[in-house]
Amino acid sequence: MSDRLTDAVGRLSRIPGVLGALLVDAEAGLPVVGELPDDSVAPAAAALAASAYRRTGRAVGGANLGRLASFRLEAASGQVLIAGGGGLLVVVIAEPGTPLGLVQFEARQVAEALS
């Protein structure tokens, strides 16, 4: 199982423009496996990504839009894509301007494989 998770993170991290990827325990908000440029930010990234996903999921549910599959945050210095899969979240951090089509496709595949 842990090899599968490590492979998934490695595959996401190798996409051009991706700075790092992280699998997060959705309920605890803790990092499970990750490849980030700075490992020390993994706990904060995991906690905040889980919180953002939970809150966005509630907003989406409240608007009767069904279950949240993934969402994207865009900022001046980077982009974050978060996709839900079972009890895990797939978090991908990419450089600004990176086309996220392939990232989103891969992240959803990983999320689906984990659910």
Binding site: A28, L30, A47
Partner: protein, 161 residues
């Protein structure tokens, strides 16, 4: 133990505790010293509950510390208990003056990761307070009950006790 400056300490802790509750999205936060004296609380509205949680936190801390010593660990970092609806987080942290214990109770609006993230910042903020920069005398089993009551009297309205 902290009879003289208790009001000052309680006032100083109010803002860091409020910020922790807001940022970590916990329902309840208490700061207790190892003798069970309550120094700050936010979230509980019943004096009886606060007294119970404060004394249980001090007892859990003493047991966990003894267990850590038995297993050759220098100290324990935190205790996390997951209930059906709520979760309990209990963690000791050091200030230059003394060791304190943070107790946080949260539901699915928060997570262990979020609590850990803001706990670190909270502990640093409390350690930087002037009220916790000088070493104080420690409490004892004999002063446990008196310390607990002194803390409650300062924090809870009289009609809740």
């Amino acid at each position: 133990m902290r009879r003289g400056d208790l009001t000052d300490v309680i006032d100083a802790l109010r803002e860091p505790v409020r910020a922790f509750v807001r940022d970590a999205r916990v329902r309840v936060a208490l700061v207790v010293d190892p003798s069970g004296q309550l120094l700050a609380q936010q979230g509980l509205t019943n004096g009886y509950e606060v007294a119970n949680v404060a004394s249980l936190a001090a007892a859990a801390h003493a047991s966990a510390r003894a267990l850590a010593q038995l297993t050759a660990a220098e100290r324990w970092n935190y205790l996390h208990q997951v209930g059906r609806e709520r979760q309990l987080f209990l963690a000791p942290f050091k200030t230059p003056a003394e060791e304190l214990i943070l107790v946080a109770i949260f539901d699915d609006d928060s997570s262990l990761g979020l609590v850990l993230l803001y706990f670190e910042d909270f502990a640093r903020r409390v350690g930087d307070l002037p009220q916790f920069r000088t070493v104080d005398a420690g409490g004892s089993a004999e002063t446990f009950e008196a310390d607990l009551e002194a803390g409650l009297r300062h924090i809870m309205p009289p009609d809740w006790l």
